[in-house]
Symmetry: C2
Subunit: 469 residues, 2 copies
Amino acid sequence: MTDPFLDSCRAIVGAAFVLDQPHDMAPFLTDWRGRFTGSARAVLRPQDTAQVALLVQACAAHRVPIVPQGGNTGLVLGSVPDDTGTAVVLSLARLNQVRAIDTVNRTVTVDAGAILHTVQQAAAAHKLLFPLSLAAEGSCTIGGNLSTNAGGTAVLRYGNTRELCLGLEVVTPQGDVWDGLRALRKDNTGYDLRDLMIGAEGTLGIITGAVMKLFPAPRATITALVALDSARNALALLGLVQDACGATLTGFELMSSVCLELVATHFPQLPRPFTAPHAQYVLLELSSSESEENAVRLLESAIGSAVDQELCDDAVVATSLAQSRGLWNIREHIPLAQAAAGKNIKHDVSLPISRIADFIDVTDAALLAAYPDSQVICFGHLGDGNLHYNVAPRDGASHDAFLANQAGINRIVNDNVAEMHGSISAEHGIGALKRDDLVRYKEPVELNMMRAIKAALDPLGIMNPGKVL
Amino acid sequence: MTDPFLDSCRAIVGAAFVLDQPHDMAPFLTDWRGRFTGSARAVLRPQDTAQVALLVQACAAHRVPIVPQGGNTGLVLGSVPDDTGTAVVLSLARLNQVRAIDTVNRTVTVDAGAILHTVQQAAAAHKLLFPLSLAAEGSCTIGGNLSTNAGGTAVLRYGNTRELCLGLEVVTPQGDVWDGLRALRKDNTGYDLRDLMIGAEGTLGIITGAVMKLFPAPRATITALVALDSARNALALLGLVQDACGATLTGFELMSSVCLELVATHFPQLPRPFTAPHAQYVLLELSSSESEENAVRLLESAIGSAVDQELCDDAVVATSLAQSRGLWNIREHIPLAQAAAGKNIKHDVSLPISRIADFIDVTDAALLAAYPDSQVICFGHLGDGNLHYNVAPRDGASHDAFLANQAGINRIVNDNVAEMHGSISAEHGIGALKRDDLVRYKEPVELNMMRAIKAALDPLGIMNPGKVL
């Protein structure tokens, strides 16, 4: 049976790179957390930008919807197709080269399908730092990071993926190649199409290449775990450390007592820095461009001031790389400990930093009043105002009964976020998962501008339909 | 004689704030450098966002073009009307309040018409820093800074205006108010309309308010002037200082020998730090969050390494605030010295930093070959890759004969910029002045996307017509 559309795709990329058999397509159709499996007409695997452009032209000619996919590690169902089977998945995985590094301009030019870890390594080979870092870095791609404006653990010092990007190469919904691969710190020649494409989740075009910023690698990094009796004190500590340490501050992660207990239960081999429990903990990281001595001095001085001001109850400073790794391991094992404990309801929210303590107080109280069997597992990038405010059943409560409350729990959390002028998706994006929430919480004026831009750039509506808008 | 459109404007803002007499309108019709005077149907002076929205609705109903205006200090004729007299100037000057400061979130919410210097002072009153700083800061407004994505002297450390903004309030071309006044470091809920509006020069809507980031004020700032024998050595020095000083480096300005001679001739009262001339100079500024001792130590160590590597010939370190001010005065008097010397042809270009020395060599040679009477006055923000590459007649040559060559000189400079993948407008924007250049140097794919967005958001074409596109 001939299919003129698939035949034209085969003519572009070769038959081996047009997958249309179920078992070949399967790895591309299920999302990272395994919550949803879609269906596709085919999976297309181009090897370069020119092939991507030709494939998009073929899709436009045949009105075939396109789902661009990088490492497929997203958390909001943005990179998998729906279940209609009408769309193709266009995988960027074969565009995986680091094209060039300019050590004087401190930039790296990469294919969209380059793995984040590969880019980090390419920078490190020149003693430079590509600061983007997140849990999926061994699998996720730069194109996916850009399309979702990924956050991660270095945002406090270096910004989101958006702030790390100087230029883009994009295949438009018409199949034209826009060469916006500029490597400039300043360029005021017209509309900011770069930032429009970043975070658009593949709905306005396909990112095929990018110029990213590099930074001098810090000479020394030091980590501490600070115990405090409230999130409010953690906020005061943040201000104190920012004033005292400036750009040296590279990490400021909040974790509640429940988080550390959960990690201790499920990963007893990890360090337990304090004998007695405390209400909150802050994982604090400083990175000095000078020396380890400088980092230690700054940290000790900041913690000393915090003790004087009675902001912190106790503190542990890592004196070796292994100890530092151990402290970060506690933080990074929270999601794993949650998974081991059973299902839970996740929220990725942000707030003005000044409202964080209020948000936690008010939302905890509202949730416990409405759902007495619930337990809040709250941690996150406090320095960015970003909380992973997750809700699980209390020990002994039924998981299934609890999960039936998901809509109501989401509503309490998101309503409080909206009330305090926060964001219902701080770093994960909208995808297909939060599309209805977007309509609920975004005002019509903004949604209408978004729709007008979508219609103007993708009039056929073939780019990742059903995502974001 | 009644004019239904102006009557409706008077009903919105009051008759006193609808100026239609030539002498009342005059201050709003001529650009900052006095090169062009346009004509307007009226100048409208609303007092708040609600009035701006109603005025835009009236303009849309009567198809009256709108030229938004802040401090009118732009350099590319973006904030003055053309000479047809059909447009109104909509001045944001009365929206001039600092609405709120959040010292914990480190943000300031301002009206678009707030003067930059006022915002700096508001931050300083809380011991915080609003880092945007540029020559016109006593007159320019935040709305204008945002609409042109202003650069200035702190970009190296803190980024352009774009990087300083978290949220916007915008009146759309339909006269709706988009409340995007978010004060969040992370928000991935849909298209980045904020960055689309920033740098759009009032062609997509009118910015009426903004949330801007604040930073801890540095504890100490230290300045040095370094003499070098080439721009190439200045580039090597930049890399060395970035590695050694990290985020402490807050200024890295290049000035050629000609620049310092020009300043010495026209402003003999200013300091002359070196007795013998050198080919190039770098004004270098470090700002420490720790202490003056820390800044001095970092600077001395960096300059010591530069001397060891034979990158610099001589250096002067300012040991007092007055001396530091004196060094900055040399830099800031270059444009004034140029003005005193007579007319000249200005270019505001950027390049990948690694191409700066090549660009200067190649462009200097091409210009002198084609126009032997010309002299290059090149200075700028080297750390950002931004050069003010100005061209003047050599001493004794006729200014008028020289200026007749403007088109040819622009062409040589801009062609070299394009050849080296630079930008023909690094920080000043496009306005009406560089509109033709944009069409010459921007590829059609990008221009077409810009036009599609313009048509989608402003279908009547009433927002600042004839600017940018």
